[in-house]
């Protein structure tokens, strides 16, 4: 697992208070991990801080799963 993936996974576990085993690449933030719309906004903001990147509104709409986040962040950092 890449460094980004490990960090993303750790953040998702902390922010959404879910078991690590559930945070798979295909796990959907809302459908699988129980996030609400505000959780997704919060976690996107947390990614921005952690990786020092900017995630625009239309870009964040495409980040639906853990894998989406890892892919997007890896391309930016």
């Amino acid at each position: 697992m890449s460094d980004v993936a490990a960090r993303v996974k750790k953040m998702v576990v902390e922010h959404l208070d879910v078991e690590e085993s559930k945070v798979t690449e295909n796990a959907h933030f809302i459908d699988d991990l129980g996030a609400d719309s505000l959780d997704t906004v919060e976690i996107i903001m947390a990614f921005e801080e952690e990786f020092d990147i900017e995630i625009k509104e239309d870009e964040s709409e495409n980040i639906q799963t853990v894998g989406d986040a890892v892919k997007f962040i890896s391309a930016k950092v």
């Binding site: 609400d36 505000l38 919060e42 903001m45």
Partner: protein
């Protein structure tokens, strides 16, 4: 009754009568307060009066960049993020609409409404992380009833109410409440100079038979800041002696 020990509050317009009274009551309940306003000297005087736990963070709310820095400035001064944000600053540029200048409209919206938007946005993020927060907008009875000669002011105050109701719904699940307080006629240096006839004309419309005081408003702010008021959100608390029951 209400204990705000360990909470940090930002109060804008703290040089005015209302803002000063709000800051005093929150501070007396144990909160640290960041006092904001344009007149630094007056803020220093209030901070000195309050003593420990009072900090001065001057800001011109018509300056967007300065507004964006205020929340961070206040957090730094108080040694932690803002838990309670009281948007009290406001100004008037009265005149009948037919004579109202564009700049009178723009300035009132900028200071009364836009600064409320900018500051709330900046304050919300750490509140969401902390899962606790209080947003309080000081609006006005005229934001609900309207008032001839105050189209710009009434629009800004009505805007604050709609804004507050929206964010109340957005962040309720995070234990953050957002409410407005709508003062009616409050005694101030401005009303002190009215003639008896003018005062009588106002009082006849107020069932309580008296003007309100700054402390009446501050008490409402203290309540809405409290943990006890955690189930109250999206509301406008009218404090007006029964002048308008809405």
């Amino acid at each position: 009754m209400f204990d705000l020990t360990g909470k940090r509050a930002l109060v804008t317009g703290a040089t005015g009568g209302l803002g000063g009274a709000i800051a005093r009551q929150l501070h007396a309940a144990g909160a640290h307060v960041a006092l904001s306003g344009t007149r630094a000297e007056k803020l220093e005087g209030l901070a000195e009066e309050l003593g420990k736990g009072a900090f001065v963070t001057p800001c011109d709310l018509s300056d967007g960049d300065a507004v964006d820095n205020l929340a961070a400035q206040a957090s730094e001064a108080m040694g932690g993020h803002v838990d309670i944000f009281v948007s009290n600053a406001g100004l008037t540029r009265d005149g009948l609409l037919m004579r109202m200048k564009q700049e009178d409209w723009d300035l009132v919206q900028k200071v009364n409404l836009e600064a409320y938007f900018r500051l709330t946005k900046a304050c919300l993020r750490p509140m969401m992380k902390a899962r606790w927060g209080r947003i309080i907008g000081i609006t006005s009875v005229v934001g609900v009833t309207g008032n001839p000669g105050q189209a710009n002011y009434a629009a800004s105050k009505a805007g604050m109410i709609g804004f507050t109701k929206s964010i109340a719904q957005e962040v309720a699940s995070r234990n953050i409440t957002a409410n407005c307080i709508a003062p009616g006629f409050i005694g101030s240096p401005m009303t002190d100079v009215l003639t008896d006839a003018q005062k009588d004309a106002i009082l006849v419309k107020i069932p309580a038979g008296a003007l309100g005081t700054s402390d009446d408003i501050a008490a409402a702010a203290l309540y809405l800041s409290s943990t006890e008021a955690g189930y109250v959100t999206g509301q406008t608390l009218h404090v007006n002696g029964g002048m308008a029951m809405i």
